[in-house]
């Protein structure tokens, strides 16, 4: 495994903060999640699935974004807790955190202190807008990051009101940019021995994936509004109704030949013959009426038939999936994208794999997410070498609550 021998102290929480640790664990690192009941990971909360009592072990999303990790339950607001964490960092290679700037400093666990105890440490802070600057204290969830990044301003029907990206897109996007930066730092450390403090901004990660719009503004002063599914060079290009309740079909035509294939599969309807839509210029010019006419055709067909039929014709087409239907799709089934683990409370629980195969092998989830504090013994006795007496004393002080 690529990261065997690498130990990670993971303060990351909720979604954006949790993913980097799981990816490093997926690559073979030992990732220790730092947790406390007094500030329980939001992803451990929520309505229980089994029974009626609140239970930190029952959130299915948590099981996904924390798989492969160990859990060390410790209260870092107590000086004894912070002291243990400092000792743990001294034995570790990477620290991840996504607190509001300054939180770790408050408990004596800021970068300068950590680096003094471990000179080649790599630490990644991944706050909303970075550690410094006028907006550094902003409170955010993923939706605020898409608002800042410029993405929300494009999200809506063409020319309509801004709807915003009402999804957590910004979370994994920030996480994955953080993973890349951490891996880059590990690569450099191998040859130079140098650590790094990485100050990632989730906002910047969001704007990074808006590059072509930023450049267009810079070059031409153009400020895009809501764009819908319009494409500058492709038509038809949109989500069209299929037969049934809320069934939709994405169809994207990028050449005149593909258009002919689509028309052929639809049985050459009267309106589609002739020259009006034969060229991309014509299809772009008459886009709106074309979308209406095509919608009438597609709504007569089952989405799965459309997808299969059009795919066979070489047309880019896909039935819109949701979280319940995706695990059945053959593209995902054959690559074993959705796997499962046995969880002591939830039982059979779906966990996603990785979106790549290495040397033809499907990567498999090696270990379920930890129970809260499941690995305190390992951390305290094996890693930190504490004796039973010392542990008892710390327990009395409620360092582990």
């Amino acid at each position: 495994m690529s990261l065997e021998g690498i130990r990670v102290v993971d303060f990351g929480w909720v979604w954006a903060g949790a993913v980097p640790g799981h990816v490093l664990a997926d690559m073979g690192a030992e990732v220790i999640k730092i947790e406390t009941m007094t500030r329980l990971d939001y992803m451990r909360q929520g309505r229980p699935i089994v029974g009626t009592e609140k239970d930190p072990e029952q959130n299915p999303m948590f099981q996904n974004v924390n798989r492969g990790k160990l859990s060390f339950r410790v209260d870092m607001t107590k000086p004894e807790g912070a002291a243990l964490l400092l000792r743990l960092v001294a034995l570790s290679d990477v620290v991840i955190e996504n607190f509001t700037p300054g939180v770790l400093d408050k408990f004596g666990l800021g970068w300068e202190t950590l680096q003094a105890t471990r000179p080649d440490l790599i630490m990644c802070s991944m706050s909303a807008v970075g550690q410094e600057g006028p907006l550094r204290d902003i409170r955010t969830y993923a939706a605020m990051i898409s608002a800042l990044s410029g993405m929300d301003s494009l999200a809506g029907y063409e020319g309509g009101r801004v709807l915003g990206v009402q999804q957590s897109y910004a979370d994994p996007n920030a996480s994955l940019h953080a993973v890349f930066a951490i891996l880059a730092a590990l690569w450099r450390r191998r040859s130079t021995g140098e650590g790094a403090y990485i100050d990632l901004s989730q906002w910047e990660a969001g704007t990074n994936v808006m590059g072509e719009a930023v450049i267009d503004y810079s070059l031409n002063g153009r400020v895009p509004g809501t764009v819908g599914t319009r494409h500058p060079r492709k038509s038809p290009h949109g989500n069209y109704p299929a037969a049934g309740e809320d069934k939709w079909m994405a169809i994207s035509i990028s050449s005149d030949g593909e258009w002919q294939s689509l028309v052929r599969w639809l049985g050459e309807p009267e309106w589609a013959r002739g020259s009006r839509y034969a060229t991309v210029e014509g299809r772009l010019r008459h886009r709106e009426e074309l979308d209406r006419l095509l919608s009438k055709e597609t709504s007569r067909h089952d989405a799965a038939d459309l997808e299969e039929g059009l795919r066979d014709q070489g047309v880019a087409a896909a039935a819109l999936q949701n979280a319940s239907t995706m695990p059945e799709h053959p593209a995902y089934v054959q690559r074993e994208v959705f796997q499962s683990i046995e969880h002591p409370v939830l039982g059979h629980t779906p966990v996603y794999g990785l979106p790549w195969q290495g040397n033809g092998e499907v990567w498999r989830v090696p270990r379920r997410a930890p129970l809260l504090g499941e690995h305190n013994d390992y951390v305290l006795r094996e890693l930190l070498g504490l004796g039973a007496e010392e542990v008892d004393k710390l327990c009395e002080l409620q360092v582990f609550e």
């Binding site: 690529s2 009402q166 100050d199 901004s201």
Partner: protein
């Protein structure tokens, strides 16, 4: 001593035309790798797609091409010709990573399919990026960002009920597939180099983006349908509200946020209002009525005035910035997120890297390479 960029001395190649591997290569180039882009003789088709300065098409001035390919080198090779393939193979002997996105039906007969190259050149990391995976019965199927977001479960939740679903703006499938490929490749480098990485863009959506939702759905907790600028099943407010000069995003997930919000807008009495007795219900059934109560407060203020209030009351919220507002924001300027690149007789403002660390900010960016400008140098290098 100044820190060197992390990938100093690393050689990365891109073969096959796709913005996904161009983004993967960009992530490496921005951190100091030498990145060589292998283009067909007529050039990457992205060169012919805008935005262009003053909207005048010119294959050496495409803005998107510039964004993804600054600081890289370009060689133009016709890989249908044995001599050019030979040059490519010789050049790859000194490489560390090859990002491969070609799905040309002739690849296997030419011996340059990604799995073949991984066997021929066992010391380099070959990372293939395709819509459905190289190892897939859909390997040759057509796809683009629109259809990948549809298959990946992103689109169905975006937009208004009763209207066609939307998609995330711009080519997000390429960005995400490229980002995953860069991670996988770097992981393989750390594992000792070599090997065949097979990234599927569809799988990127299904895992990192929709995987947690799939697990929820298994336990009967599927996210409900599209709700425009609201999100069903969340406590009110979780939306974007119109303000004097645009829109403002607000999300009060906790009771503290909600109470502070009501205090901020001067309506603390609404905490007792039956309309808000169950904020999830308010959000799902009465959001327009609720929005109307707060519309005047938001409508009288600009987004930056509102932001100051949100900062003061410590409530999650943010202005919906236009591309212009993001590109000119003093916060980002202060963090040196943008840099000026000489380009097309002028200069253009470009994002750099979303992270700061010694050696992680490119000191300067060269504009994207002219087509084939590295051909002669490459011939010299491999000929020696």
């Amino acid at each position: 001593m100044a820190s060197q960029p992390p990938f100093t001395g690393l050689r990365v190649f891109e073969y096959g035309i796709d913005p996904s591997i161009a983004y993967a290569g960009k992530l490496f180039a921005d951190l100091g790798a030498t990145v060589v882009k292998i283009e067909p003789p007529e050039g990457d088709p992205q060169r012919r797609h805008g935005p262009f300065p003053s909207d005048e098409p010119d294959p050496e001035r495409s803005g998107w091409f510039l964004y993804l390919n600054a600081n890289k080198r370009s060689v133009a090779l016709d890989t249908s010709i044995a001599g050019d393939r030979d040059l490519m193979l010789r050049a790859l002997r000194d490489a560390n990573v090859l990002f491969h996105a070609s799905r040309d039906p002739e690849l296997e007969s030419w011996g340059i399919a990604p799995d073949q190259l991984a066997r021929t050149l066992p010391h380099i990391v070959v990372a293939s990026v395709t819509p459905f995976g190289w190892n897939s019965s859909f390997r040759g199927s057509a796809a683009d960002d629109l259809t990948l977001q549809a298959l990946g479960g992103e689109s169905l939740g975006l937009g208004m009920p009763g209207r066609p679903p939307l998609k995330l703006p711009l080519d997000q499938s390429s960005y995400q597939a490229g980002l995953s490929a860069a991670i996988a490749a770097c992981g393989a480098l750390l594992g000792g180099g070599g090997g065949f990485i097979d990234v599927s863009a569809a799988d990127v959506w299904a895992t990192f983006y929709m995987g947690p939702e799939v697990a929820n759905a298994h336990f009967g907790r599927r996210k409900r349908g599209r709700a425009g600028h609201h999100v069903l099943g969340q406590p009110y407010p979780h939306t974007v509200l119109p303000c004097k000069d645009g829109f403002f995003a607000v999300q009060c997930s906790t009771r503290r946020h909600w109470q502070a919000f009501l205090e901020m807008v001067g309506r603390p009495e609404l905490a007792e209002d039956p309309l808000f007795a169950n904020r999830v219900r308010t959000n799902d059934l009465h959001s327009e009525e609720a929005d109307a109560l707060f519309a005047p407060w938001f409508g009288e203020r600009t987004k930056d005035e509102i932001l100051r209030q949100f900062l003061r009351f410590k409530i999650p919220g943010a202005p919906v910035y236009s591309i212009q507002e993001a590109a000119e924001h003093p916060h980002l300027e202060g963090r040196r997120y943008f840099t000026e690149v000489d380009y097309a007789g002028g200069s253009v403002c470009m994002p750099t890297t979303p992270y700061q660390a010694p050696g992680f900010k490119p000191e300067s960016l060269r504009p994207a390479p002219r087509l084939g400008e590295y051909n002669e140098a490459l011939r010299r290098e491999v000929g020696r």
